[in-house]
């Protein structure tokens, strides 16, 4: 036997990150206190305008009986729309755990700079917004357009977590969590690209997001992937990537905002450079999934340039998840089928 390694000292590493995320504490919630989070929305100066407060998580405002109060807008009163049953169900959930973010290391004057080519996305990037453990709202601050099925699935997951019995999901069992959750983590990733493909290599989850720019050279796999099949094209300086053909339904975030296996993610990715050698990536993700939502809706994320994060920490989820002395599902319970 060579199992004398002090396993207890391993706790808190890779699996703990996944489990903590799953339990809703959030990866950052398990971390020691650090520098204060970035400003509203975590957006760099000169970039996008701050998101509405509700867009970065937290409790949803209570919906008054009879719908939102009318608000004068240049003399125009918003029509009062009663909340749908789906909205009422979502509004009744306990608020998500607040996410935090830690700034990456300072770039310093000698840090490598990004290519001046707006279509060259290569380099090391780091999500600089607070992790949204439950996305809830779109990039305009509006409630995500859950239909009743979507609201039921999310409510089931949130209530199960709040009851101390969170459901098994991909990340907790060392499976790829899907493009949106993978990118949302506040862990660095590198981008490598050619004329034919763009590859995202993440520190966490053995994560890869492979984008084919030429379907003829990278056709869909024989068997569907957890991360789906992603095809991209350039629209000016914006890389537009459509991801579909998922092996299974995804959780879009820690609390389980759902995407069905038939859903699609459309990502519009551009490098924003304000001329200060501190570019950032803007990724607008549109979620298109009639199974769970009444219409497509979009969220925006930013990722700052940080070559000082190129040397990753090791991720080895399997060492602990497969340990026969621990629960193979990290203490989570199977989610009932619809």
């Amino acid at each position: 036997m060579r199992t004398e390694f002090p396993r207890s000292t391993l706790k808190g590493l890779a699996v703990a990150v996944a489990a903590a995320l799953t339990l809703g504490a959030g990866a950052a919630g398990a971390q020691p206190a650090g520098p204060p989070p970035l400003g509203a929305g975590g957006l760099p100066s000169g970039g996008l305008p701050p998101l509405p407060g509700g867009a970065s998580g937290g409790a949803l405002p209570q919906l008054p009986a009879g719908g939102p109060a009318g608000a004068p807008l240049g003399g125009f009163a918003m029509p009062q729309v009663p909340p749908t049953p789906a909205e009422q169900l979502i509004a009744g959930l306990a608020p998500p755990s607040p996410g935090v973010v830690f700034p990456g290391p300072a770039l310093g004057p000698d840090a490598p700079t990004s290519s001046a080519d707006p279509r060259d996305l290569q380099g090391t990037w780091y999500h600089n917004q607070k992790l949204e453990t439950r996305i809830q709202r779109d990039m305009y601050g509006e409630l995500a357009p859950y239909n009743m099925e979507g609201a039921k699935v999310l409510a089931r997951r949130v209530k199960s977590k709040d009851a101390g019995k969170p459901f098994v999901n991909a990340s907790a069992i060392c499976r790829p969590p899907g493009p949106l959750w993978q990118r949302d983590l506040n862990m660095p990733f590198q981008i490598f690209q050619s004329n034919d493909a763009v590859e995202f290599v993440f520190e966490e989850y053995h994560g890869r997001w492979r984008v084919a720019l030429d379907m003829a050279k990278a056709p869909p796999p024989a068997q569907k992937d957890y991360m789906g099949y992603s095809v991209g094209h350039w629209d000016g300086a914006t890389l537009v990537v459509e991801t579909s053909d998922f092996k299974q339904a995804l959780w879009l975030d820690v609390d389980g905002t759902p995407l069905s296996a038939n859903g699609k993610l459309i990502q519009r990715i551009r490098k924003v450079d304000n001329g200060d050698s501190k570019p950032f990536l803007e990724v607008i993700t549109t979620i298109d999934d009639p199974t769970y939502y009444t219409r497509p809706w979009s969220v925006v994320r930013t990722f700052v340039w940080n070559p000082r994060m190129t040397y990753f920490d090791e991720y080895n989820c399997e060492e602990q998840v497969g340990d026969p002395s621990t629960d193979p599902d990290a203490g989570l319970v199977p989610e009932p089928k619809d």
């Binding site: 036997m1 060579r2 390694f5 000292t9 391993l10 808190g12 990150v17 398990a30 020691p32 650090g34 830690f102 990456g104 290391p105 000698d110 490598p112 700079t113 990004s114 290519s115 001046a116 080519d117 060259d120 290569q122 380099g123 090391t124 069992i173 060392c174 499976r175 790829p176 660095p188 590198q190 050619s194 004329n195 034919d196 493909a197 590859e199 290599v201 053995h206 994560g207 890869r208 492979r210 084919a212 030429d214 050279k217 990278a218 796999p221 992937d225 957890y226 991360m227 070559p307 000082r308 190129t310 040397y311 990753f312 920490d313 090791e314 399997e318 060492e319 998840v321 497969g322 026969p324």
Partner: protein, 245 residues
């Protein structure tokens, strides 16, 4: 097959990393250091389950021999999880065993950090040959040894020299040979020719080996391509071997 263009090879021989910076030329994401170009897709030339010394048998100490024999006994019984959690759980095979994997890997170089991007289970190992300080270890991941440890690199002539320490003793050197946490692995990576990569590996672990010993692995360049998603745990769940046969 996606053909991914690699940067042009340098014909003027090796130049020390940092020369560009020393000359006052700002590096960029696509401006590569003037070192031998190891980038591309590679595959081991002669797949093997054993890390064989260049000459003679593995120079075990009595303690190393005892652990090796125990591993053989457990292997014969099929008790993989008691000595090889790569086979039983898909745990990262670690350094240097990763280099024995029969499937392909890519090498990327950015900012002096060399990333080995393996097709198998999408694992990576990295060698930090940059001047960049490692990022802050906020959750104490580096407090315990890991499969690929801490790998510091430098260029010596035409070779990338990688020294790996802090390597978990829960990994093996190959299918059977054990090591302790005090092992140091030194690798010299160099291009024998444009399509042949050599990894000369020196194992230094006085507890299990009477002297440092060398092994040499050779890899052949492969066509550039996008790898497909590979999830080892799905094979284990399907009662298949961790390494596809």
């Amino acid at each position: 097959m996606v053909m991914i263009k690699s940067r042009p090879r340098h014909g003027g021989g090796p130049v020390l990393v940092g020369a560009l910076l020393a000359a006052g030329i700002a590096a960029s994401a696509t401006a590569q250091p003037a070192t031998p170009n190891l980038q591309g897709v590679w595959k081991i030339a002669a797949p093997t389950n054993s890390l064989k010394p260049v000459s003679g048998p593995v120079p075990f100490t009595a303690e190393g021999r005892k652990q090796y024999d125990e591993n053989k006994r457990l292997q014969a019984k099929g008790d993989y999880d008691d000595y090889d959690i790569t086979l039983s759980r898909c745990s990262n095979p670690g350094t240097p065993r990763l280099m024995l994997i029969p499937s392909r890997f890519k090498i990327w170089e950015r900012f002096g950090v060399v990333t080995f991007d393996f097709e198998w289970n999408q694992v990576i190992r990295q060698v930090n040959a940059s001047k960049l300080e490692p990022k802050e270890d906020r959750i104490g991941r580096r407090l315990v040894p890991s499969a690929t440890g801490t790998a510091v690199g430098r260029w010596e002539g035409d070779a990338l020299v990688a020294e790996s320490t802090n390597l978990s003793e829960r990994t093996l050197l190959d299918d059977l040979v054990p090591h302790t946490v005090d092992m140091k692995v030194t690798e010299h990576f160099r291009l024998v020719d444009p399509d042949t990569l050599e990894d000369r590996i020196t194992i230094d672990d006085p507890t299990y080996f009477t002297r440092p010993w060398d092994a040499v692995l050779t890899f052949k360049r492969q066509p550039a391509t996008l790898f497909h998603e590979d999830v080892c745990l799905d094979r284990i769940k399907a009662k298949q071997p961790a390494f596809p046969q």
